[in-house]
């Protein structure tokens, strides 16, 4: 039993929830001061674990009444520091709101609480012929509330779209504690698409407490292809050729030689370790359409210099091909203990040029890079590997990261394809956006949160500064990209 707190904020929170679900001890405050990113900010003030919408609202009201900020948090798998606290805010942890409330198979939708783990929803739907399409690589851990906050992606978003395309409605506790439902179960928005504006708001617009997601039909036919190339350029040209030929694969992923060499001993997927790059192409749909696309991709691959095209013969082979892709990062831990994962998007037609430039940047900084990424939509994920015990290495890592961002934007790209801005990239926002562009974004934010209490100091470059890289974490078990 905790002692009655002297802090009036804590007393209000305890009254609103119950003592076990309000934590102020040092262990909890340290634990909830970090997410999966390399960033450090301030420290969590009070940590709350609400279980109902009314409790979330009470937490928000109490925080604001005591002049404190609040930060919502799911599983903390974010890689941009979006859930890192600044200035001792009230942390509102939503992992205990983890119920799947309703599944309507005929209307292909489900209402879930924000703490439901992404993969748990698709597992729950097993046998219905339906699934939740967004599949970030962290899907075994990340929550759907976090997916909404980050507008998360994943390999299969190439065909099916990112999270926003799969969120029909969302119940939100606004930063003044009011509860509203944005969007609707069916059809276009009534009035402004405030649902669309909210998704991807990185916790700065309010807190999602119930989410209505669209469920996607399982495709009757799936084919997984493995293509291998003697140069990254040839692989990249094949990616462009597939898209230009009018095909949208369900997923189109690239792994470079460094990744393949690291992964193959672990998964025995049969990746050719002497290839400069491999592509995983997944096609889904109806049998004739899939068969036709396999034929066309074989042709394109051979004219673009693929050494071989392997079509997975059965489910086991398909799983092994994907296992290598999805578990790439566990294998990397044996090479170097520390990592920094970036996330930018470039025009597909610039893939070869930018990836080559990334190799140069990394060499200039004397680091190791591995590239495993969503090539089909130009979404790069260069992973820098290093040993943080080396003196001065952090500066080189950050310099390389910054140069990768600059090169991506200069190539006509954007700062982030799925990790978001958080603390990590807000200083780069002015590379992509003019002051007037940023002003328009701040108008959106101000309408939701006029007093700037919801996860402040994130996303937009103006305002209070917070966040710095002090040290980098060790590669945790089952790390994702």
């Amino acid at each position: 039993m905790q002692r009655r707190s002297r802090d009036p904020l804590v007393r209000d929170l305890v009254a609103a929830l119950d003592p076990e679900r309000v934590q102020v001890d040092d262990v909890a405050r340290r634990l909830y001061s970090r997410d999966a990113s390399v960033l450090r900010g301030g420290r969590a003030g009070v940590i709350c674990f609400p279980v109902t919408t009314a409790e979330v609202s009470a937490c928000v009201v109490a925080a604001v009444a005591h002049g404190r900020d609040f930060v919502a948090r799911g599983a903390g798998t974010g890689l941009a520091g979006g859930a890192v606290p600044c200035d001792e805010p009230v942390m509102i942890v939503l992992t205990r709101m983890d119920r799947i409330l309703e599944v309507d198979e005929s209307r292909r939708l489900a209402w879930v609480e924000p703490g439901v783990v992404n993969l748990d929803l698709s597992r729950h739907l097993g046998g219905t012929g339906l699934h939740f399409a967004p599949d970030p690589s962290s899907q075994q851990s990340c929550t759907i509330g976090g997916n909404v906050a980050n507008n998360s992606g994943g390999p299969h978003c190439l065909l099916y779209g990112v999270t926003s395309a799969h969120v029909l409605a969302v119940e939100v506790v606004l930063p003044d504690g009011e509860v509203v439902v944005l969007g609707n179960e069916e059809g276009d928005s009534v009035g402004y698409d405030l649902r669309g504006a909210f998704v991807g708001g990185e916790g700065t617009l309010g807190i999602a407490t119930r989410i209505c997601v669209r469920l996607t039909e399982d495709p009757p036919e799936v084919a997984t292809l493995l293509l291998d190339f003697m140069s990254v350029g040839a692989a990249a040209e094949t990616v462009s050729a597939i898209i230009a030929a009018g095909m949208i694969p369900a997923a189109l992923e690239m792994m470079d030689q460094q990744v393949v060499e690291a992964v193959e001993p672990f998964v025995n997927a049969g990746y050719p370790t002497d290839a400069a790059a491999v592509l995983i192409v997944e096609l889904d749909g109806q049998p004739a359409g899939v068969a036709d696309e396999i034929r066309r991709i074989r042709e394109l691959a051979s004219t673009h210099g693929a050494r071989s095209v392997r079509v997975a013969a059965d489910e086991g082979e398909r799983e092994r091909i994907w296992k290598g892709r999805k578990s790439a990062f566990g294998a990397i831990a044996v090479i170097k203990p520390d990592y920094y994962l970036n996330d930018t998007v470039i025009p597909r037609t610039k893939l070869a040029e930018v990836v080559e430039r990334i190799y140069e940047i990394v060499e200039e900084q004397d680091l190791i890079v591995m590239n495993v990424f969503h090539a089909g939509d130009g979404n790069l994920h260069p992973l820098l590997l290093f040993d943080a015990r080396e003196e001065g290495v952090m500066e080189r890592v950050l310099a390389a990261g910054e140069e990768i961002v600059r090169v991506s934007v200069a190539a006509g790209g954007v700062l982030s394809g799925e990790h978001g801005i958080g603390l990590e990239k807000k200083r780069f926002m002015s590379l992509q956006f003019s002051p007037a562009d940023l002003e328009a974004q701040s108008r959106l934010r101000a309408a939701f949160d006029p007093d700037g209490r919801a996860n402040p100091a994130k996303v937009l470059p103006s305002g209070a500064s917070c966040g710095h890289v002090t040290s980098l974490g060790r590669l945790p078990e089952g790390t994702w990209v």
Binding site: G153, G161, V162, S164, A165, V179, V180, V181, L182, N184, E186, G187, D188, S189, V190, G191, Y192, D193, G196, A197, V199, G200, G201, E217, P219, S240, A241, I243, I248, G285, Q286, P287, A288, G289, V345, P347, R348, T349, D377, G378, N379, V414, L415, S416, G417, E418, G420, I421, Q432, F433, S434, A436, E439, A440, Q441, A446, A447, F448, V459, L460
Partner: protein, 298 residues
């Protein structure tokens, strides 16, 4: 933020909008009355023309004043389309402002997912860009989705980058007196399913052999090839009860009917948030002052 073809026309558009006085953009005016009228506001027009078509990027940059027909014609040359539709004469900007998803939405997706980047003029007369040019982008706030369906009350859109998609190889309408649920069970991702209370019409798209297979299956249920249905001009929101002369777009929440029904009821909290949004973007209320996105039927 580099210069692109059409920058001169964007600057002319910005200058025409200016920084004072009530103003609205006139496109094809095919749905001019949706959400109210122009209320005597000065009319301007957005740039016209296709500025950059990149098949390998699946994107097209186009002036918002371009008609959907012109855009479709140009894209068809490359076997591409955008997931938007509208009455004959509709413009890209008009269709985005109205924000109604295409009849084929079950296949092509929601209109909100089509807009990647919008070059706009704000109420203060300053040009700004929302979104970004790539097909995937979560950089900053999603102004593009907010703009779609906003009837030009937050900013005026001059030029856009849209996501393109391949035109289906094969496409066929079928109809018959069958429950829509049975049709959905027997097909994979039909592009559209319509129900008039007795008859179900379905649009199948895809590879020829796959479509043939579904046609055969649906034939056994009693559906046969049919002309594309002609839909009444009015709209209502699906309430679970189909009006006598209405046709339901199954799964889309829309009823096509002779006249518009009244606007759906929206909670006070949402209306307050919407009012804050409008005031935040347009404090003096000069952009499309006669229009209210919440006064429309669907």
């Amino acid at each position: 933020m580099g210069m692109t073809v059409g920058d001169g026309r964007m600057e002319a558009f910005r200058s025409e909008v200016g920084d004072s006085g009530a103003v609205c953009v006139r496109g094809g005016a095919t749905r001019w009355g949706v959400g109210g009228g122009s209320a005597g506001a000065r009319e301007v027009s957005a740039p016209v023309g296709i500025m950059a078509l990149e098949p390998a990027e699946m994107t097209v940059m186009v002036g918002a004043g371009t008609t959907l027909t012109e855009l479709a014609g140009e894209l068809a040359v490359h076997g591409l389309e955008v997931g938007m539709d509208g009455p004959q004469g509709s413009t890209v900007g008009g269709a985005l402002a109205v924000g109604r998803s295409a009849l084929r939405r079950r296949r092509v997706g929601q209109i909100a997912d089509v807009l990647l980047q919008a070059d706009c003029v704000g109420a203060d007369g300053v040009a700004f860009t929302a979104g970004g040019p790539t097909v995937k982008n979560v950089t900053g706030y999603d102004l593009c989705r907010l703009l779609v369906g906003s009837l030009g009350t937050l900013a005026l859109v001059g030029r856009v980058i849209l996501r393109t998609r391949p035109v289906p190889v094969c496409s066929v309408w079928l109809a018959g007196e069958v429950e829509p649920d049975l049709v959905l069970e027997a097909t994979y991702r039909p592009a559209s399913v319509l129900w008039d209370g007795a008859r179900t019409s379905v649009l199948l798209e895809g590879h020829g052999a796959d479509v043939d297979q579904m046609v055969e299956t649906l034939g056994r249920l009693g559906l046969a090839a049919a002309e594309p249905p002609v839909l009444a001009p009015g709209r209502g929101r699906w309430s679970g009860l189909l009006p006598d002369d209405g046709v339901l777009e199954v799964g889309a929440g829309v009823v096509h009917q002779p006249d518009d029904s009244g606007p759906p009821i929206v909670s006070e909290g949402v209306l307050n948030l919407a009012a804050r949004m409008r005031a935040s973007f347009d404090p003096s209320g000069r952009l499309n002052p006669g229009r209210d996105p919440y006064s429309r039927a669907a």
